[in-house]
């Protein structure tokens, strides 16, 4: 870091200090600001009138062309209103057509979360003997939608998509459980041919079911 005194900063011309190594730099030096012109009494009045008319001309140009209006009639246009694919709205867990997910309860998202909005609870008695997901608690009320959990997930289980109209009257309804069942991943479950056997290995979980496991701020 080059040390510059106050005087240096004031006097140093821009073109000299900038690197001249690459030929692409077409340096023309700093641009100086033009000043608004003022002359005699009548000139000022006339130019002032002209500037006012010019500005009003812009307004009238838009007024006479309704096609330039960009206003969206929001509550009425719900049917046609589409968010972008990557829009960060609600956090969700991807379930396949059988209703199974790929989450192995690795806690990566929990560690990546900057404000303890995610709590991953493992099943006390896993059916396979390996860690299994029980509850995936997501606190929408403290989430900042930073997307860290989504990009950190090694199995791409999490996704930010859905609706942006999420207001509720009870703040407890902002604490979601994202998994639909407690049990092993879809890879383990799909190896089992018998559907009855599969059903025995999992327990159904609702969005607001169970007592949510919350971390009281801070880091584990």
């Amino acid at each position: 870091m080059n040390k510059m005194s106050q005087e240096d900063i004031l006097t140093a011309p821009l073109a000299e200090t900038a690197p001249s190594s690459s030929p692409a730099v077409g340096m023309t030096g700093p641009l100086a600001a033009p000043r608004p012109e003022r002359r005699g009494f009548w000139w000022n009045i006339l130019s002032g009138l002209r500037s006012l008319l010019k500005g009003m001309g812009v307004t009238f140009r838009y007024f006479s062309r309704p096609s330039t209006v960009v206003t969206q009639q929001y509550p009425e246009n719900r049917a046609t209103l589409k968010l972008f694919d990557r829009s960060r709205t609600l956090l969700g867990m991807i379930h396949d057509e059988n209703g199974f997910h790929k989450c192995t309860a690795c806690h990566f998202c929990e560690k990546a979360c900057p404000n303890a909005s995610i709590t991953v609870a493992e099943r006390p008695k896993p059916a396979t003997g390996k860690p299994e997901l029980d509850y995936f608690t997501w606190r929408m009320d403290s989430c900042t939608y930073c997307n860290a959990c989504v990009i950190v997930c090694p199995f791409s289980v999490l996704t930010m998509s859905g609706t942006f109209e999420n207001s509720v009257f009870d703040s407890r309804l902002l604490i979601y459980n994202l998994t639909r069942y407690a049990g092993p991943t879809s890879q383990v479950l799909m190896k089992i041919a018998d559907p009855e056997e599969r059903k025995r290995m999992i327990e159904t979980r609702g969005v607001f079911s169970g007592v949510p496991l919350l971390r009281k701020g801070g880091r584990k």
Partner: protein
């Protein structure tokens, strides 16, 4: 007669005389529309003339520096969005740049080029909002709507690639959070095509307007020496005639490979600050035009997101030129994945303080013009 600065600066009337006046204190804010947030200015007034301005801070203090001590370097990026929320991407870049310098992470050209494009687009977006708000502060509501209309186009570009409109958390230490969207290049090109005539319209609507010119001309003059000693940076400093731009002086990203000019004011009044920002939009578009056609191929993230970046013990400082000036991040690292201490040198804090040197002697209505021309974002002052 056109009123000049000399008319506006009035000496206090002699005490005991027939026209003797009394000085009194009055609050401007914390809930004042032209302070753009919760900022309180205590004014010492003599009639309509401002004798002294004392900014009072702390109404939106969130302790970001302290929270930063409990966040990994990657997590801290999302807090930097919330400093100066109108240049969120440049704030992200400042944190990433510092961490990369400290942890010695080398980046490829693709990341650098995309970062530069994003930063310049954000600069345009920030100045668009400033332009609209300036008009509104000075009593013209129409520019506000036009500014937001054009800003919306750019916000959609950001939303498509990053998924967020304001707090993007996009530039990460070691790369970018997501690769650019397939439509990105096309959208940016169509934006440039759309915005160029609009910028001429800005000049027609507001810049050419004689009322605006009279309210900005020779108002709030900031001398170059005062500006430097106050620590003002960005367009405020450049309008005072000091050609100090980090993009030229200490180039980061690919700024050393692109051609652009630095607009500099001649007088340091509100009009110069207005013009410098308008010209910066033009120069930013020039930079984006040079880069958008040849974004090199490569990976967008070089450090896996699950890895906690560890910074070796030491003191590190990194700075970038945001839309409002120099944002510096000072990190005291103790060798773990968490910073021991983070200090933020934010541009708005110093830019705001220059008002204490500018305002005395002017009128209250001029104070609004000065505040608007300084382009203050209050969360960046308090942080």
């Amino acid at each position: 007669m056109v009123s000049t600065l000399e008319d506006r600066v009035r000496p206090p009337a002699a005490a005991g005389g027939p026209l003797s006046t009394q000085e009194f204190f009055i609050n401007m804010g914390p809930q004042h529309p032209s302070t753009h947030g919760v900022l309180r200015l205590v004014l010492k007034l003599d009639g309509e003339t401002v004798r002294e301005v004392i900014p009072v801070l702390g109404y939106i203090h969130r302790g970001i520096e302290k929270i930063g001590e409990h966040q990994t370097y990657r997590q801290f990026v999302h807090l930097s969005d919330r400093l100066d929320y109108l240049s969120a991407l440049m704030n992200n870049w400042a944190v990433s740049l510092t961490v990369e310098k400290a942890a010695k992470i080398e980046l490829n050209d693709r990341i650098q080029v995309i970062r530069t494009i994003m930063a310049e687009l954000q600069r345009i977006q920030s100045h668009q909002l400033w332009w609209g708000v300036l008009g509104m502060d000075l009593g013209a509501f129409t520019p506000f709507l036009y500014g937001f209309r054009d800003r919306e186009v750019l916000t959609d570009v950001f939303e498509e690639t990053m998924g967020a409109r304001l707090t993007m958390n996009y530039i990460q230490p070691g790369g970018l959070m997501q690769d650019i969207h397939p439509n990105f290049v096309e959208r940016v090109k169509s934006f440039l095509k759309y915005f160029k005539p609009k910028l001429a319209e800005y000049e027609e609507l507001l810049g050419g307007n004689v009322i605006l010119q009279e309210r900005l001309r020779k108002v709030g003059r900031l001398e170059a020496k005062t500006a430097v000693s106050m620590g003002a940076t960005g367009p405020v400093l450049r309008a005072s005639g000091v050609a100090h731009d980090l993009r030229k002086k200490e180039p980061y990203g690919v700024y050393s490979k692109v051609a652009f000019d630095v607009p500099v004011g001649t007088m340091g009044d509100c009009w110069d600050r207005y013009w410098v920002r308008i010209e910066e939009m033009r120069q930013s578009m020039r930079i984006v035009e040079q880069l958008i056609d040849n974004i090199p191929a490569g990976k967008h993230l070089l450090v896996k997101p699950a890895i906690v970046i560890k910074v070796p013990q030491g003191l590190y400082y990194g700075q970038v030129e945001t839309a409002r000036g120099i944002l510096g991040i000072f990190v005291v690292a103790d060798g773990t994945g968490y910073p021991y201490r983070i200090h933020l040198r934010t541009p708005n804090f110093n830019n705001l303080w220059s008002i204490t040197a500018i305002a005395p002697g002017l009128r209250v209505a001029d104070l609004v013009a000065i505040l608007s021309s300084l382009d203050i974002v209050v969360p960046d002052i308090d942080r």
